[in-house]
Symmetry: C2
Subunit: 367 residues, 2 copies
Amino acid sequence: MPEPDRRTLPPGSVIGILGGGQLGRMLSLAASKLGFKTHVYCPDPDSPAFHVTDRRSLAAYDDAVALAAFAKTVDIVTYEFENVPAETAAALVAHVPVEPKPSILETTQDRYAEKSFIRRQGLSVAEFDAVSSAAEVEAAAARIGYPCVLKTRRFGYDGKGQAVVDHPSGIARAWLEIGGKPAIAEAFVRFSREISVIVARGRDGTMRTFDIAENRHERHILRTSTVPAAIGAATAKAAREAGLAVAQAFDYVGVLAVEMFVVGDGAAETLLVNEIAPRVHNSGHWTEDACQISQFELHVRAIAGWPLPVPRRHCDVEMTNLLGAEVLDYASFAAKPDVVVHLYGKSEPRPGRKMGHINRLIPGGSS
Amino acid sequence: MPEPDRRTLPPGSVIGILGGGQLGRMLSLAASKLGFKTHVYCPDPDSPAFHVTDRRSLAAYDDAVALAAFAKTVDIVTYEFENVPAETAAALVAHVPVEPKPSILETTQDRYAEKSFIRRQGLSVAEFDAVSSAAEVEAAAARIGYPCVLKTRRFGYDGKGQAVVDHPSGIARAWLEIGGKPAIAEAFVRFSREISVIVARGRDGTMRTFDIAENRHERHILRTSTVPAAIGAATAKAAREAGLAVAQAFDYVGVLAVEMFVVGDGAAETLLVNEIAPRVHNSGHWTEDACQISQFELHVRAIAGWPLPVPRRHCDVEMTNLLGAEVLDYASFAAKPDVVVHLYGKSEPRPGRKMGHINRLIPGGSS
C-alpha cells in the first residue's frame, strides 16, 4: 500500500502554508491556479498571504493547539521560510505530511551544519570554522586568514548577524556585534559574481532546474536578478549540478535555491556554494513572467506529486526588488510595456522592506 | 476637484467583485498580483472566487442590506458577468463607483438593444427583428428569410434560449422552445469562422486590443480559442476596429469582448458582429500565458485608473476549455511541458460545466 504522503493530491485538496509573507502569498496564488485551496498559518495579522487564501490561522508557531487544528484542515503542509521552529514542524508531522521534510531544516537553520553538509556533497565552499568565543575566532582567523567574516550559526538573513574582521584587533568588536552567539568564521570571498540556481525535485525523484540567475545585492538585500547570468557554459552547468546534488542529497521534495559565488573570470571561473534556501526564493521571482511555469507552481506541483515540466524561458529578464518607499512609484513601473509589476499588498513601506518586485522582459533570448 | 471615481486606486485598495465564478476568481488573482485586496459578492456558497479573496459576501443579488454593507467595504465595484440585475448595480452606484457603468448592462442584457446599438456604430450585424409572438416571428422570418434563429432578448448564454426555424411550419414549436418570451428573429449566418476581440479601455480613453482569437464552439459552448486567427490582415484590423468602436461608444472602462462571424474566405472575408460581453471573456483566457499582461490584469488596471500597456504576445497559443469530467484528466495535461493548466477549484464536474482550461503554447509566433 502506498504511504499516504506519497499520494498525488487532486485539485480541491488543501495545502497548508506556514508563513504569510510574499512567498506564502505567491505560493497560494500558484496553488489556486491549479485548483487547490490554501490555508495560511502565520502569527502576523498583517500577513499579505492572508488576502489570497481560503482559510487563515492567526497563531504563534509554538501554539500546539492551533497547530493541531490547522493540521486537521489541510492535506499537506509546506512553508515559505526556513526558520520554522523545528518543534513546530515536528508537531505537524505527527498529523499530516510536511514537505520539504522538517529534518532538512535542522541542517539549513545552522550555518555550520549547512556548510558541512555542502562540503560533504563534494561541493566547494569558502574556508570556515565553528567558533563560540572570541578566542576561537582568533584561532580560526589565524588559519583562514584575514579578512574573514563572522556569521551567527542561526537566524541570520539579509546580512543580519554578520560582521567582517579585517585584523586581529577587530575581533572583540565583531564578536560583540554579532551578539556573542555561536557562529562560523568564514574566509572573505572576493567574488566576481553572485549567482543562484532554483531546483525543483518531485516525490519520484524527478529534478528540474531553471536557468542560472545573476544576483546583485545592496546592503545584503537582493536588488536584482538577471537571467541569463553572464557566466560561461561550463560554470552554468556546474551551478545546475550543484543545485541537483543538494536536492538529491536531501531527498528533497519541492523547490530550493542554492546561492553561489563565482570566483575569477572567463576560463578561470570557479564556484563556491554560499548557502541553501529550502524554499522558493527571491532570486527565482523572474520565473513568473519569463517561463511557462514559475518556481511557485513547480513547488506546488512537486509537493502535490504532480508532473514537473521542464521550465522553458521565452525571454531574457531582469527582476528588481521594490524596497520600502520605492513601491510608491508603482504607476511609473506599471506604465512600461516591458515591465511586469508584482506588489505584495503590505500596508507599511518601511525602509528596506520587500514591498514588491518588477520583471523587465527582454525579448530575444530563450532557453 | 476631481470626481472620486476618477482617482487612481493605489495598491491596498479593495476591489469589489460581483459574481464568484471562474472569471471573478481570475480577476481576484490578477488584482492580488497588483497588491489590491478583493471582496467577492455571490449568492452561491460554492463560488470558486471565494477561495482566493480577502473578504466574501454570501448574499442574494437583491439583498439591499447586504449590498449596502458590501459597498461600504470596497473602493470600487466591478463584475464578472453581464446578468447582474440592473437594480443591484443601481443600488451600488449610490454608494461606490461601479465600472463598467451599469447603464451599459441595460444595452447588453437585451439582445435587441444590443444589436441595435451595434448597428448604430456602423457595424454590420445579421438581419434581425424584435418579435413578441409567433405571428411576429412569421412576419420577421418572411422578411429575413429561412432558416432564421430565435433568441430570447434576455438571459441567454451558451446557447440557452435559442431555436432555429427552417420553415414556417416550425415557428410554433420554436416559439414554445424559447419559452414564448420576447425575442429576436435573426438571419442564420453561414460563417466561415468565429472570432473575437478583447478590448481594454481606461478611464482616460486609452484603448488596447489583444490579437484576434479564432473560436470553435461545440453545442454552443466555447471549446477552443486559437491565436492568431486564420484570417486576413484586413479582417483582423476590421475586427479590432469593431471592438474599439464598441468600447468608445459605451465610454467603456474595463475589458470587453466582441464576438464576430467571418463570412466568406480570403479576399471576400467580411465581418458580422454577433454579440458583446461587457466583461473579461472566455475567449481571452489565452492571454494569461501568451502575453506579458492578461485580460484580467488589464481589466483591473483599467478600472483602477492604472496605465494600460500594449499587450505583447510572445507565442502562438490554443486555449481549450475543460468541460465536466474532462478535468479529471488533469495529470495528463499537466505532464505536457507546452501546456499551462488552469483549474477553477469547482467541486462538482457536472456535464458541460467549465472546470478549467489549458493553454497550449506554440513557440514561434509573436506580435
